[in-house]
């Protein structure tokens, strides 16, 4: 049985489940929308101030919203103990992990695609640096959030208060990535410095944590 076939089948199954239940995407959208609207009422920044704070606001909103999707990822495997059906099968662990991470990447990317225009509109954002660099920042930053998030959500799956446990585990370890995302985004919005160092940091972070998660996931899955 091939690694890719299991990955594809698990991803397709997760997308189908999300399409039918809309558990994660609705909660994420609602949460992000609240952040945009509340912050825009709370602050009344000038265009210059907006450029300085928007990077932080955007990524913190996406980070908090992503936690909703990440909790849902494994919650649906716990209903009816379906995860046990995967565990008793001869399928290897890593396609499951990667399918979940890619699924979360798609959900959070959809959220970002929908919410970014609203951020731009509410905060009157116009990048002064090379705008195209926002694309690798979004891809690398989103992957950094979901790869660790998927892993730590799996780790906290059997704890009683897993919805609290996930942010407690995820946020501290995401600090280097969050710094990279926020500084890179701010650098492009203000045009004051190059974002290349932060993009390289994000890339290194993604590689290291993806490998670490892949190496450790089987132990997490087999744990009782």
């Amino acid at each position: 049985m091939s690694f890719l076939a299991i990955l594809r089948a698990t991803l397709a199954k997760d997308l189908l489940l999300e399409w039918r239940s809309k558990d994660a995407i609705n909660a994420m959208l609602f949460f992000s929308l609240l952040v945009v609207v509340i912050f825009s009422f709370a602050f009344d920044p000038t265009a210059e101030e907006s450029r300085r704070i928007a990077g932080g606001l955007i990524w913190v909103a996406f980070l908090f919203a992503a936690v909703v999707a990440l909790n849902q990822t494994w919650a649906r495997e716990l209903r009816n103990q379906v995860l046990d059906a995967y565990r008793v099968s001869p399928a290897p662990a890593n396609p499951l992990f990667l399918a979940k991470a890619v699924g979360n990447f798609i959900f959070v990317s959809v959220l970002e695609a929908l919410m970014t225009p609203l951020f731009v509109m509410f905060y009157k954002l116009r990048p002064l640096g090379p705008a195209w660099e926002l694309i690798p920042i979004a891809i690398l930053g989103t992957w950094a959030l979901v790869v660790n998030g998927t892993f730590f959500a799996a780790l906290s799956i059997r704890t009683k208060s897993r919805e609290i446990m996930l942010p407690l585990l995820l946020f501290p370890i995401s600090i280097p990535a969050l710094l990279g995302m926020v500084n890179a985004t701010s650098a492009i919005l203000t045009g004051e410095e190059s974002a290349k160092f932060w993009i390289a940091l994000l890339l290194a972070y993604d590689v290291v944590f993806t490998l670490a998660c892949l190496l450790l996931f089987e132990t997490i899955l087999e744990a009782e």
Binding site: K13, L16, S89, P90, E224
Partner: protein, 225 residues
């Protein structure tokens, strides 16, 4: 001629914190036989089944399945039906089984569809039923859960409460299906609180109490049906 054991448990202890669910289970189960595991709630029946399936690791002692102590390596030959359905409520029976077929390496569309239809039909359900499993009756869900366990044509079938919430006619049909499987050389370990359903087809009744196997009988005791 005695058949070789397919499951061998040697002094298996399973502890959850300070609670010992299994307290030194030593037993073997021969291939091609249908065993019914009985006992009160908390006797350790489900834990024994989960340990044999590789879902729980013994705290002490060893379990060997199909000649291997590394259960992971023989998973393709084990079928496991738990008390919960192990199915996605939002997907139809066929969609569920198609996904699980992929996990067992049945990837080709045509053979996967054919195999899924076969096992769904074998538990007397309609493979074309488009309804999500979440809208099935409890009995239908149990039968679909059995179909999932049969998907990989396992040599060893572990069934935890397969008849709970199943009407008596369906339970008799399921019992007949299990007997057919035993006659085809499969080994079945069935945990149930309704042993009467399997009385005529079981080869042996295994009695558990307080985490131990306390007796093994060829016939069901009076008053336990």
């Amino acid at each position: 001629m005695p058949t070789p054991p397919i499951v061998v448990a040697d002094g298996v202890i399973k502890q959850f914190g300070r609670f010992a669910a299994l307290r030194g289970v030593t037993a073997d189960f021969a291939s091609g036989r249908l065993y019914v595991i009985l006992g009160d709630n908390g006797a350790g029946k489900t834990t024994l089944l989960r340990t044999i399936a590789g879902l729980a690791q013994p705290t002490r002692g060893t379990i060997s399945v199909l000649g291997s102590k590394e259960i992971k390596s023989v998973r393709a030959q084990i079928g496991y039906m738990a008390h919960p359905s192990l199915l996605y409520d939002e997907m139809s029976g066929m969609e569920n089984l198609r996904y699980f077929a992929g996990l067992y390496g049945i990837e080709d569309d045509q053979s996967a569809n054919q195999r899924c239809r076969e096992v769904i039909a074998s538990v007397k359900l309609d493979p074309e039923l488009p309804r999500p499993v979440g809208q099935y009756s409890q009995g239908m869900r149990q039968r679909m859960s059995l179909a999932r366990a049969l998907l990989n044509d396992p040599k060893l079938l572990l069934l935890d409460e397969p008849f709970s919430n199943v009407d008596s006619r369906s339970a008799q049909e399921m019992s007949g299906l299990l007997a057919q499987m035993r006659n085809r050389g499969k080994t079945l370990l069935v945990v149930t609180h309704q042993p009467g359903i399997l009385e005529s087809v079981a080869d042996e009744f295994v009695w558990m109490d307080a985490g131990k196997i306390v007796d093994r009988t060829a016939k069901l005791r009076e008053g336990t049906r």
